[in-house]
């Protein structure tokens, strides 16, 4: 009696398993098709292209936090970055900080006064070896091999925040609550985010695709340069060649793509 009941239960279990695996296989099949479709994607005629996008920030051209404000504003406005009052919930893609925060391992006890009081712009470094990409369990953050931009897929992100722990630059923010009520003016051309996903700077990939430079570069009045790191003729390479530049936490081997002229 007991054993026959068990047998029936076992059969039920196996058939339930069989029924539930089919949709999973279907999902995998769809996924494979989607991957095939992606290959047909074509860049626009005006799109700017590079092997690895990079930025050079001439910090000598900034004297106060207020001078950074228009750059930060330009970025946050077009990317629908909310302004949250609670500091714990804060979201930022680009912001100004002190030298000893931007470069904690290069902060000397005695420093040139101009450097000590100068604001430093910090943002995602779009590293060539990004640790955030390495740790993501769903490939929701990934490095585009055509131009080196580190992307976020807001729809795939499960919100585990492993990438935030992995990023040595504190470049990532998490939506601790629904951000939409805190966006002053929504830019309909860029997605807003939902609660529970991570976000960060995308080097204005959506602008590069239509031939425009990143918003912060455009608003910087020449203090920021943007271009292909692997093109010896690019503006960034020329600046790097003629100026002494530093990068944040270079010893960690992530190869940041944002260079600073001090």
């Amino acid at each position: 009696m007991d054993s026959s009941r068990r047998r029936i239960l076992q059969l039920l279990g196996v058939s339930a398993l069989a029924l539930t695996t089919r949709p999973v296989f279907n999902a995998f099949a769809k996924e494979a098709q989607a991957a095939g479709a992606e290959a047909a994607f074509k860049a626009g005629e005006k799109a700017l292209q590079a092997k690895q996008w990079a930025m050079v920030i001439d910090t000598r051209k900034f004297h106060s936090e207020a001078e950074l404000e228009p750059l930060v504003e330009a970025c946050h406005k077009i990317h629908n970055v909310p302004k949250l009052q609670n500091k714990n919930h804060e979201i930022k893609w680009i912001w100004g900080t002190h030298y000893h925060n931007a470069f904690p391992n290069k902060a000397a006890r005695f420093l040139a006064e101009s450097v000590e009081h100068r604001p430093f712009l910090v943002l995602c470094n779009h590293c060539e070896n990004p640790p955030c990409v390495r740790v993501c369990p769903t490939q929701a953050t990934w490095k585009r091999d055509t131009d080196g931009i580190v992307f976020m897929d807001f729809h795939r992100c499960i919100g585990c925040r492993f990438c935030m722990a992995a990023c040595p630059f504190g470049a990532r923010s998490f939506n601790y609550r629904d951000p939409r009520p805190f966006i002053k003016e929504t830019n309909k051309k860029f997605p807003t985010r939902m609660k529970g996903v991570v976000e960060k700077c995308n080097f204005c990939a959506e602008r590069l695709a239509v031939g425009q430079l990143p918003a912060c570069v455009e608003a910087s009045d020449g203090a920021l340069a943007f271009g292909d790191l692997y093109d010896p003729e690019s503006e960034v390479r020329k600046l790097i060649k003629t100026n002494y530049t530093i990068r944040r936490k270079q010893t960690l081997g992530t190869e940041p793509s944002v260079y600073y002229i001090v």
Partner: protein, 385 residues
């Protein structure tokens, strides 16, 4: 055998109801978190992991600790532990269930959790943690249940279980190793970047897990007709004694490396936890309490006179469990995030709803553990009768 879990006395039902109430409160708070987002916790941009992940880490240890009864019995043929292996396995099941739940409630988008399977990513340690934890859960359910059922029916367990039992031993080590790798491979997090993080996790696991098991054995002896045995408890106590000594030794190794090398990136986190940094020191009393508790635990378990007194041993086990919990469940995660990569100090303090939800998960784990232990003990009583 499942029916044994619902045949109990008044005390059993009272305890289960009590736990269910805490689970329900935790669940209601979690609904609030689902609605509002993780903003109801104390987490921030700088401290992006907190109480949930810390408890998860600690409980992976408790789960792995179960292997400390399985290994001597199956590998060294230490017969005495035959009586308690099932308790170790069932403790592991309950702990892993808590671990998985803690991970799930920590997700910003829990409904997307299956993306981990849909887009398997071999370079992500979290993917591997997902695999080893679920594998360990599966192994322990399969082994524990079948061995107990065989025992109830008075036959030897199925032959095919034997290889699985052997696999489960290194598997237990793997769950805590992989969990340590979540942290110790991250560039720019000086506190975690230490090759002995996995060994440290294991040593604290082999202290906390068996300590909890001893407490369970003492309670089971009191409330049932099954005696896990004095010899078994004493052997477990020796394991706890060694493990807690090794754990404190490993911690002192960390302190030496950080402070003799004098590298700020490594020192600052320890300073923050133990003496405070730039005027912030919410964890200072906790961390010293943890050290005192662990040292007291060493004194009480290493000294044969106190270890052999079961009343004192019970106190020692509570002390060690609490000490290792503060060390790993409180300091390990918060300490790693403070100061932040930009060397700013944004202290993480868990919020009340966050603590409530975590308590709910603990209660759920204890509910599962009580039910499983009830089944195991009832079977043992049946056999004896």
């Amino acid at each position: 055998m499942l029916e044994l879990a619902i045949k109990g006395g008044k005390k059993y039902y009272g305890w289960m109801t009590f736990l269910t109430v805490i689970v329900a409160i935790g669940f209601l708070l979690y609904l609030r978190q689902l609605d509002f987002g993780l903003g109801i916790t104390g987490l921030s941009r700088d401290a992006s992991w907190g109480f949930y992940i810390a408890n998860f880490t600690f409980l992976v240890g408790v789960a792995a600790g179960g292997v400390m009864v399985v290994l001597p019995y199956y590998l060294h043929d230490y017969k005495a532990f035959g009586k308690v292996t099932i308790l170790g396995e069932f403790l592991a099941i309950a702990s892993v269930i808590m671990c998985v739940t803690f991970i799930l409630i920590d997700l910003g988008q829990p409904t997307r959790v299956f993306n981990v399977i849909l887009y398997p990513t071999l370079n992500s340690v979290l993917f591997w943690d997902f695999i080893v934890l679920n594998g360990y859960l599966f192994l322990n359910i399969l082994i524990g249940w079948n061995v107990l059922e065989a025992e109830r029916n008075g036959v030897h367990y199925q032959k095919w279980l034997k290889p699985l039992i052997y696999i489960s031993i290194p598997w237990a080590i793997s769950i805590h190793t992989v969990t340590a790798y979540l942290y110790c491979g991250l560039p720019g997090r000086g506190f975690w970047m230490t090759a002995i993080l996995a060994p440290r996790f294991l040593s604290s696991a082999f202290a906390a897990g068996p300590a909890l098991l001893i407490l369970c054995c003492l309670i089971i002896r009191r409330v049932s007709n099954f005696d896990p045995g004095r010899q078994q408890i004493q052997s477990l106590a020796k394991i706890v004694a060694y493990a807690i000594c090794v754990n404190v030794f490993f911690f002192l190794c960390e302190v030496f490396v950080a402070f003799y090398s004098n590298i700020p990136e490594h020192m600052d986190h320890i300073k923050y936890l133990f003496v405070g940094l730039h005027g912030h020191g919410a964890y200072v009393p906790w961390m010293w309490a943890s050290m005192i508790l662990m040292l007291l635990g060493i004194i009480l378990t290493v000294n044969p006179i106190t270890r052999k007194n079961e009343g004192v041993l019970a106190v020692a086990c509570v002390v060690i469990f609490l000490g290792t919990w503060i060390d790993k469940g409180l300091g390990m995660i918060a300490g790693g995030f403070t100061p932040s990569p930009l060397h700013e100090i944004n202290e993480y303090i868990p919020s009340l709803p966050e603590i409530g939800i975590a308590l709910g998960v603990w209660a759920m784990g204890f509910l599962v553990m009580t039910a499983l232990f009830k089944i195991a003990v009832s079977v043992k009583e049946e056999i004896r009768a």
